[in-house]
């Protein structure tokens, strides 16, 4: 049996184990250790199992993960998201679908300090859905706007998936964050366009509300100043080259604590809860990364990505054709795989092929995150849809499915735009030293 055939068999086993509800970290670690045992010997497999957990867990660069999660946890526990929503609501009042637009805008902005799609969707469900229901918005449309807006959290920096991608693909996190900014804003705008078009075409779904006065709109701009400070200091600090991502993450977490404590928004109990959740969530992610490192070590040894690249080239497939195929595979995987697991399983296999066809890994990272984002909202297994439904049990899933369908056009549109104009993602990183 050749190494690449063994690689394919182990990947098949990996998907089987995942399907049989083995934990993602365990599946990756077992396949990595087992694969190395078969390909090399016991000593090599033991060395890999012994050193990888220590190396990954003691990596200075990866400290950015728990620190950004902590910032997001604390921000979620404060009234930051509610203030963003209220400000957006007043500013956009009078527009048909204004509350949905406010939800998407506030979700995008909140995602810029939170970094988690599920947390953003959960928070916005509590804040925005009762308001939209009160204003007579149709349930499916309202919930879909929250699900779509919530998904922005993983694309708009800071993005945990981008950090993990950067770690396994050895790419600069600063550049990845820079590359995600314009596509993130663009996707937010595309979601808003969808919300406006749906509201205009089906007026029964969305009643218009009373417009606020100019002065009230101006005052509303002032309220979420804490958010502006947090975003400017952390993400602005990274783009300006003042802070490394680790430093920005630590300052962001510390800043969120200061804002929360100074404004009496967080109690010590809430703070401890945020730290506890962060410790557990980070450990979950690190367990997966440890397993993924073992697995990718095995994949590299099999030379499977190079064999797949040779096969693709022998079929004379154009670069865009191969990329379209990869995107399709991601969309299918997104139906049943969790986002981070999907990235860690697939990137070691796909990245060499993508690079072999001359695409930039940073551009590919943005495509991958958008597809993961799509996986969060597309039926049948969209995590954000479940998060919303879990909080609002009387909301029918079929309504949510119908409501989300037009919003799916936005990420597909963005992927098409990124294929046609890669500079949407690559322009900002190109300005960085």
């Amino acid at each position: 049996m050749t190494a690449s055939v063994l690689g394919l068999l182990v990947i098949g086993l990996l998907f089987l184990m995942l399907f049989l509800r083995m934990p993602v970290w365990l599946t990756l670690a077992l396949c990595g250790i087992g694969g190395n045992l078969v390909m090399s010997n016991f000593v090599v497999a033991k060395m890999l199992a012994g050193t990888t957990p220590f190396d990954v867990s003691n990596s200075y660069g990866l400290s950015v993960i728990p620190l950004f999660i902590l910032m997001g946890e604390i921000a979620t526990g404060t009234r930051l998201s509610a203030e963003l929503f209220q400000a957006a609501r007043v500013i956009l009042s009078g527009l048909r679908g204004g509350l949905a637009i406010a939800t998407i805008g506030a979700s995008g902005l909140f995602g810029a300090v939170c970094g988690s799609s599920v947390a953003t969707a959960a928070t916005m469900t509590r804040i925005a859905l009762p308001e939209m229901r009160k204003s007579g918005y149709e349930d499916g449309y309202a919930a879909a706007a929250i699900a779509a807006g919530g998904s922005l959290g993983i694309l708009i920096p800071p993005s945990i998936i981008l950090i993990i991608f950067g770690a396994i693909a050895e790419q600069s996190i600063r550049k990845l964050f820079a590359a995600a900014l314009i596509p993130g804003i663009l996707l937010m705008l595309l979601y808003i366009v969808v919300a406006v078009v749906v509201a205009a075409r089906v007026p029964g779904k969305v009643p218009a509300d009373q417009p606020a006065k100019f002065g009230a709109r101006l005052r509303a701009l002032r309220d979420p100043w804490q958010f502006a400070v947090l975003f400017t200091v952390t993400i602005g600090g990274i783009y300006a080259g003042i802070f490394s991502p680790n430093e920005a993450a630590a300052i962001g977490a510390f800043g969120a604590i200061v804002i929360g404590v100074a404004g009496r928004r967080v109690t010590l109990r809430k703070l401890l809860e945020a730290v506890r959740t962060t410790a557990i969530t980070s450990a979950v992610l690190f367990m997966i990364m440890i397993g993924a490192t073992m697995f990718s070590n095995f994949v590299v040894q099999t030379r499977l990505p190079h064999v797949l690249l040779d096969i693709a080239q022998s079929f004379n497939l154009p670069g865009w054709g191969v990329m379209a195929l990869i995107v399709l595979i991601y969309i299918i995987l997104g139906c049943f795989l969790e986002g981070i697991g999907m990235v860690l399983v697939t990137v070691p296999v796909f990245l060499p092929i993508v690079v072999g066809y001359g695409y930039d890994p940073i551009w590919f990272a943005i495509i991958v995150v958008i597809v993961v984002e799509l996986g969060l909202i597309h039926p049948p297994v969209g995590m954000n849809l479940f998060v919303i439904q879990a909080q609002v049990p009387d909301l029918k899933m079929t309504r949510l499915y119908m409501g989300i369908l037009p919003f799916l056009l936005a990420p597909f549109g963005l992927i098409a735009l990124l294929f046609l104009f890669p500079s949407i993602a690559m322009w900002l990183p190109s300005l960085m030293r």
Binding site: A49, P66, R276, I288, F336
Partner: protein
């Protein structure tokens, strides 16, 4: 008698796992504080914290390893649960048991595999770059964290009540009952 011993063991494991989680949380807060102090001192006085790089790396390791037990005890691991709606409850419970058993075995193997580099770090007198801490101490700290993970995965095999089993801790790291 056996049931009483089992209860005591479960309570002890829960306490150990929760104590380790507190260590993990403390390491996390300390890590944030070190970075903030380093940035503040560098920006304000051009005098960064000596050994910040080492401290952050070591604290991150402690934070991760000492939370492993809580992750396993609270069943917080990421799982693709598509089959839950396709299979009967007993089959799902059986798959959970297999996963728990495999987790315990893999963690035990990793623990065993980590002993060699720890011994080598001790034998060759490896030290950290800035703080010059003997690395074997860091390895021992990591191994203690791993023990918590192993303990949790083993106890999960005995703790379960009912199909699929109850977690030892709730999803936030508190008592499950």
């Amino acid at each position: 008698m056996a049931a009483k011993i089992g209860t005591v063991l479960l309570r002890a494991s829960r306490m150990i796992v929760r104590a380790q989680l507190w260590v993990s949380m403390a390491a996390l807060v300390l890590m944030m504080s070190v970075v903030v102090a380093d940035v503040a001192l560098r920006q304000l006085f051009n005098h960064p914290v000596q050994g910040a790089y080492d401290a952050v790396s070591i604290l991150l390791g402690i934070s991760v390893f000492y939370a492993l037990g809580a992750v396993i005890a609270a069943r917080n691991e990421i799982v693709i649960d598509l089959v839950d709606s396709l299979l009967p409850e007993r089959a799902v419970a059986f798959l959970k048991r297999i996963a728990g058993l495999l987790s315990a075995l893999v963690l035990a193997f990793i623990f065993f595999a980590m002993l060699t580099p720890m011994q080598e770090a001790y034998r060759y007198g490896d030290i950290s770059l800035e703080l010059r801490i003997p690395l074997w101490i860091v390895w021992v700290a990591a191994l203690i964290g791993m023990l918590g993970g192993m303990l949790a995965s083993i106890m999960m095999q005995f703790a379960p009540r009912g199909p699929g089993g109850m977690p030892l801790l709730d999803s936030a790291g508190g008592h499950a009952e």
